[in-house]
Symmetry: C2
């Protein structure tokens, strides 16, 4: 088999993506024990440890990349995300607490503030002299930021804003750094001046003095123990008519003059709101990458163990079967390996897009909207996949998977909330769905509606959906004759693409038609929207999967080694076909696959998995994490040693005629 | 709506099942804080706390039910399981540590030992004077118990057994009570006498002295922190030629005379092995029940919150939408509510069967095998469903779901390993699959093989599968005309049953035919088996779901209140149809559903969910847990209070002409 192995070195380099060198530096950092999680620490100790780890990051110039060069940064937005993401290998709490401090808190100052604010607050935020909370979410308004109820009312006499929490549901909630360490907060509130509400704006509000006590009017609570990420001191904040100077309004997108006059470079309140929130997309981008990394770590551990561990003897009386030789084990791990590869390649594209927008290389309104949609489509898939993959790895390693030092449970617990924060996955997918619908409807209006039949939306797919990242269908769904073998059909990328594209188009068209039928009555329209919520969210999910499929397919073209290219093509096919299998009912019910073809799919997929099985170890090794990152007992080689020792024992037993038991007798007796 | 509400009181009583009174007593105990988990405790404190809680259980006569009356027990096997299961509401660690001590350790003495052993060791095991470990699993042999490598070699001279661990993979592993508290262990080892191995037997082996130090030759390690269940001191044990008296062999199913002669009431080694292991089925039964209880607790919390929490305003400018009014939220929670009901009713049947076998009322070989198959089919479904349900509840409650005191994450972490221990879910399902295959093949041999076409297995279904718990198909799959409405088709229980039954039969037939085609060559046969492993496991899963469907359907007949009966019938339909939707591709590809009918299924399911939505609170309240069991902040009514306060604020604001902001303006400004 050796001559048919993939080129792990080259593939590893490709997987590191456009920021390979920065990732290596960050991974070297994540390999150091003093930056890693100690699972035996209690909450208080864990919080203190992570705070001190943030200090190490500052000392080592590890957090400054995204900031302006004049403050010691590098103006490197994509590189900054890549650097932070890799911290997940050390400790997700470290990654997220760094994200709170430099991505959210300092990021709000950078992106929503102006020169004066940068000069005044960025240095101390960057140096961690001022740990800060990002006070956006409220108890009563988790995802609906536009409806936050905290008010910032301008007082012309004192030239101050009065920050106020009108009721308990308006308490700011789940804020990292709020329970203990935060000295200031960037607070999102409804800006009211001269009796008019101008919508949500962000204010810099000091919250604690040097001794760590709340300033007058500021209060809060500790969220206490969480399901994971206990290195972060999440908490609640509330404000009782707290006054801050007028200039504490982060005024890049909206300002109030001394006399109380409001002004903004963006006249539309809606667009202003989304522009301000758009600066937060970096959180979603980095969760997408970190989740993918965590899935890689889980798979590298589980595949290594599955390649060493033996259980039951199926074909031999004396040799037990290696776990990964079982079909079910291949199903469990290799399908998820395929998804993780897809996620990894898709993330590189997202990071490119992010860097283009944030560096200003390509930051038109359309670019920004595309970035938003791309992040909103990919973050849900990768964060859910990380949990699914870590859990399956945990179970595939049996009892050993449950031991904390084998990592799965700890990573799962820490990553659990990734599906909720920085945009709840279901809410994000609904945003993607609305975008698909808007793009579709814009095209739809230009067409003769009489010609539009349900399930026929694919005819407009080429132009209608490309703005959201969809490429053209390339070719219409081919009605392939029965003679052509199913396997050839399924492995043809044009067919894979057509199936995915048609599915999105048809679902979006179905929702659009239902909305059209409901007419313009707001109650009926809202009802129709809700009646199709599940379908629209599923279209959005399909859209994200298509983006991943395209990224995976594009990555294949960059592989020069023929064996690697062939193996990765099988893996891409597994990715595509397992998705089709998951939704086989839809493809059949809507006439995109024949019964005959559908029946061959599971078997073909199983054969692909068996073909990939000898390459599984190389494919996870190409992720490039070392035992310093994996740190699991079961990825250390201990299991192989134990297996060898046991086999040696039985070998000696077989060789000895006087052995009191033979291995075969031993097994037969209990069979 | 009030006159159309279900009868919660009666339904609650029905859900408590055949051991209602014992469950109430156990629930009252689980409501007491001193028996509950304190999530802030570290591992060492948690272990100590749970040990002391076991002492409370002993004092209160809460652990003795399954034991003989002459030792102060009640000879009540089903009641004992029901009692233990409910402890999960207090703390899963308490449930499992009690299970280790009284179900496994004392259970091995009771079921595998004889009178002398009972008299000698049961009292101290029951009183917790001797905490014990159940030393079956080995590092190298988790699920393959027949292959354990620990040996017990009889020494005629000293009339002792020599317990020995030949290599590291044979260390006993993951044993509760092994790391700290255990004073003795029931050790499973290959019994060797006169140079012959008679297979796995169980031995009573003292492991620690009064001071807590290992006896000479005994060693071990602490498994340390786990993903959950940290109230239990799991660890490893190994034995270096440790001698125990001949009479420490628990000799109910196999004995060695003083001169080394082996004897057994069960001549076949294979049957002997399975008879001994069969006594362990109670663990699976109680995990099935406890998992269902945990899912109930999760749903009761999440539905309560989903009924109070509001987010976004869809149909009104001023009123936000309650979460459970969103279609997606209904999909997430109500489909899982239906599964939990099915699981609850199925568990009652399992408990009946268990009690019949263990009480001796009906304990033929066939009864025992049916019990094994039933437990092996249901335990995987309920333990996986519990994790799936708890995770979905966690996510459906957003950030609040991640706070430890809201329970989901803690229950998830503790229940995670339920899918692995007491029989790994995939291994159990494979056993069920093999049983289905055996039953099928037995029938198969009597038939003209030439008449057997693939996918035509339903003709033999009535007789072939009933021994595994399948009832007759009742009626053949009806080829309903297109005119009949799809909804009528889907809600007809005969059709639901036929779809489920046909699916199992067809899958089993497909595997059987593949095995037959492979012939008798062992390597080819093993390969064919492995090539169909995924399919066979999926048939086993389908079988378990059919058993649940039958239990749910049977339970409907016991409901007298018409509104309750109607609502529960919708819920049963949701259970059935969401399963069919999950595997829609199979039903279509194999000709069991038409495309037209399949396309109507998601919409019909959504309408059923909307119809059930007003009853969701009543349906979870009928689970009967109180806030003392739920203990979540978000199930306490706090959320409703917060929402009321906020609405009152906006109401006053609207009433005041001089208000600086109107709620509407506030919302519009950011829209």
């Amino acid at each position: 088999m050796s001559e048919n192995r993939i080129n792990v070195t080259d593939l590893a380099e490709q997987l590191l993506g456009p920021y390979a060198e920065l990732r290596k530096v960050s991974r070297a950092r994540a390999a150091r024990p003093e930056l890693q999680r100690d699972p035996l620490l209690g909450m208080d100790e864990q919080r203190a440890r992570v705070l001190s780890q943030l200090g190490i990051l500052v000392e080592e110039d590890a957090v400054q990349r995204a900031f302006p060069t004049k403050f010691g940064g590098h103006d490197d937005h994509g590189g900054s995300i890549a650097t932070f993401e890799e911290l997940v290998a050390a400790d997700p709490s470290l990654q997220i607490k760094a994200g709170v401090q430099w991505g959210l808190f300092a990021g709000a100052i950078l992106h929503l503030g102006t020169e004066e604010h940068h000069a005044k607050w960025l240095p101390s935020a960057m140096s961690l002299e001022t740990p800060g909370a990002f006070a956006m979410t409220e108890i009563g308004h988790g995802s609906d930021v536009a409806a936050v109820a905290t008010t910032a009312t301008y007082d012309e006499d004192s030239e101050e804003f009065i920050i106020h929490t009108p009721f308990k549901a308006a308490w700011k909630e789940y804020l990292g750094n709020a329970a203990l360490h935060g000295k200031a907060a960037t607070v999102f509130a409804q800006l009211i001046t001269k009796g008019v509400n101008h919508g949500v704006h962000c204010f810099y509000v000091p919250i604690r003095d040097e001794a760590g006590d709340f300033f007058p009017g500021v209060g809060g609570e500790d969220d206490g123990l969480k399901g994971g990420l206990n290195g972060i001191d999440n908490g609640r904040l509330h404000f009782n008519n707290v006054r801050v100077p007028r200039t504490n309004l982060l005024n890049r997108y909206g300002d109030v003059a001394a006399d109380g006059t409001y002004s903004s470079p963006i006249p539309s309140p809606g667009r202003r709101f989304f522009t301000m929130l758009g600066t937060l997309v970096q959180g979603r981008v980095s969760l997408d990458g970190a989740s993918t990394s965590a899935a890689k770590i889980g798979l590298q551990i589980a595949v290594t163990y599955g390649n060493q561990r033996r259980q039951f003897n199926s074909t031999s009386d004396t040799e037990e079967t290696t776990l990964l030789d079982y079909q079910r084990h291949q199903r469990r791990l290799i399908t998820r390996l395929a998804r993780t590869y897809a996620s990894s390649f898709a993330h590189d594209g997202l990071l490119d897009k992010f860097d283009a927008v944030f560096s200003g290389r390509a930051d038109s309104d359309d670019d920004r909207q595309d970035l938003e949609t791309l992040a909103a489509a990919l973050k849900p898939l990768s964060t859910w996949d990380a949990l699914d993959t870590l859990q399956e790895c945990r179970e595939a390693c049996g009892g050993a998977g449950f031991i904390a030092k084998n990592r799965f449970t700890q990573l799962y617990q820490d990553l659990d909330i990734y599906v909720t924060f920085e945009g709840d996955n279901n809410v994000l997918l609904q945003l993607v769905g609305k975008r698909l619908l808007t793009d579709y409807a814009a095209e739809f209006r230009k067409l003769d509606t009489g010609a539009m039949a349900l399930y026929a939306a694919k005819q407009v797919g080429n132009t209608a959906l490309h703005r959201s990242g969809l490429r053209s269908v390339g070719q219409a769904f081919a009605d392939v004759s029965d003679e052509r073998k199913s396997a050839n059909f399924f492995k043809d990328p044009a067919n894979q693409r057509a199936l995915f594209t048609d599915r999105i188009n048809a679902k979006v068209a179905e929702v659009a038609n239902a909305l059209r039928a409901a007419g313009k009555n707001p109650a009926k329209s809202a009802q129709a929207f809700n009646d199709n919520q599940e379908l629209l969210i599923s279209a959005a999910r399909d859209h994200g999967q298509l983006l991943r499929w395209e990224a995976f397919t594009a990555a294949l073209e960059k592989v020069s080694d023929p064996v690697t290219a062939e193996v990765l093509t099988w893996l891409r096919d597994v990715f595509a076909l397992s998705l089709i299998e998951d939704d086989l009912g839809w493809f059949l019910a809507n006439g995109h696959l024949s019964m005959q073809r559908a029946r061959t799919l599971p078997g073909y997929l199983n054969r692909l998995l068996a073909r990939l099985r000898p390459h599984a170890q190389d494919l996870v090794d190409a992720f490039g994490y070392t035992q310093d990152h994996l740190r699991a007992d079961i990825s250390s080689g201990n299991e192989a040693e134990r297996q060898d020792e046991a086999m040696e024992y039985f070998r000696k037993l077989r060789a000895s005629d006087n052995a009191p038991i033979s291995e075969k007798a031993l097994k037969k007796a209990s069979a």
